[in-house]
Symmetry: C2
Subunit: 231 residues, 2 copies
Amino acid sequence: MAITLYDLPGVEADRRFSPFCWRTRMALAHKGLEVETVPWRFTEKDRLPQPNAGRVPVIVDDSQVVHDSSTIAEYLENRYPDRPSLFPSEAARALTRFIQNWTETVVQPGLIGFVVLDIHRHIGPEDQAYFRQSREERFGGKLEEVVRDRDARLPAFRETLTPLRRTVERQDFLGGTAPAYADYIVFGAFQWARAISDYQLLAADDPVAAWRGRMLDLFGGLARKSPAYGG
Amino acid sequence: MAITLYDLPGVEADRRFSPFCWRTRMALAHKGLEVETVPWRFTEKDRLPQPNAGRVPVIVDDSQVVHDSSTIAEYLENRYPDRPSLFPSEAARALTRFIQNWTETVVQPGLIGFVVLDIHRHIGPEDQAYFRQSREERFGGKLEEVVRDRDARLPAFRETLTPLRRTVERQDFLGGTAPAYADYIVFGAFQWARAISDYQLLAADDPVAAWRGRMLDLFGGLARKSPAYGG
């Protein structure tokens, strides 16, 4: 039976952009598991299966409900040990956490300042008021103000990607010759931006763009085929 | 027979401070290999065994000469596969490269701006002129100028350590419950600063300081016992 994944859509139900849901989506594909996705909006708290923390991803596997992308990755690794591994050793699992923390404290906070207004534009109208209010509180200003100087911030943002750039210049994936869960974590951030915004975050000749291209090609172009503005 | 390690000393031969040599020193201890270190100064290019790139670390294992810390780590892993592993899977080896690139493009360039004048003070007088000239060319200014505003830069530097901090808050080592080569790479940078400077880079209650303490305790306090100003 397919695993059910509750996932965040844009105004169109098939535009999926949550970076955390993309981690799970790619992890499920890596494990070769069938998935059926259910679009779920910020404001539909009651429609998520229990237990959950009011956020996606949430998966239902048989009757088991698992939430939080990291917990889901651990669950999939333990439940399906004979399928391709997401962390091919305990040390790899531990090192992956560093890359996760880098993604969540450097890449994602950097990215949001470029795409936050585009997110607002492209989510469903029923979510817009909630999104604007919660994000404007977080940023302490109008979304329009947050993105106003984004061109000026772009070189510094690209500079923060140096550790990733140097790595994928010399090997195809963070995981080496094959992708690992660390790749899906970082890719989730870029796919989030790409799905919701046409802002060009990466120079065309950036090795990070080439790596993102390899990620988009995985699993028969799973992420490439998903609706995106291509930023 | 013990492996010979050519290593950079301060004005006293037993003060070792090269971050790259510390990677190797810790890797040798991790593998449980005997080592005899030979102090080697910047200006003694001719005294290094061939082949080398004019830099340390260089090791001699039996008659095999290996140089460059990363190449040495690979060599030790392949030559001594039955001893504790530095990268306990191919994925761990690949993920370690990301942490190496983060260390070399974020941590080490950040650190140098705090300790470069102290390095000059504490290396041997025969190296001082070479060091000042090469580093002042690199920085485009006097070493005294480079460090002048270091207090003002400290909060931003500590902020760049967030991915490390978050990780070692939740697990003892980057490698998980046990240290791996990734730990030695990052630790090498801190041991470099500590060996040569009394500047307090880390707040006493910083989880990074606690991790550094665990690293200093490894192998019977190998790094803790080495001469340091304790910064």
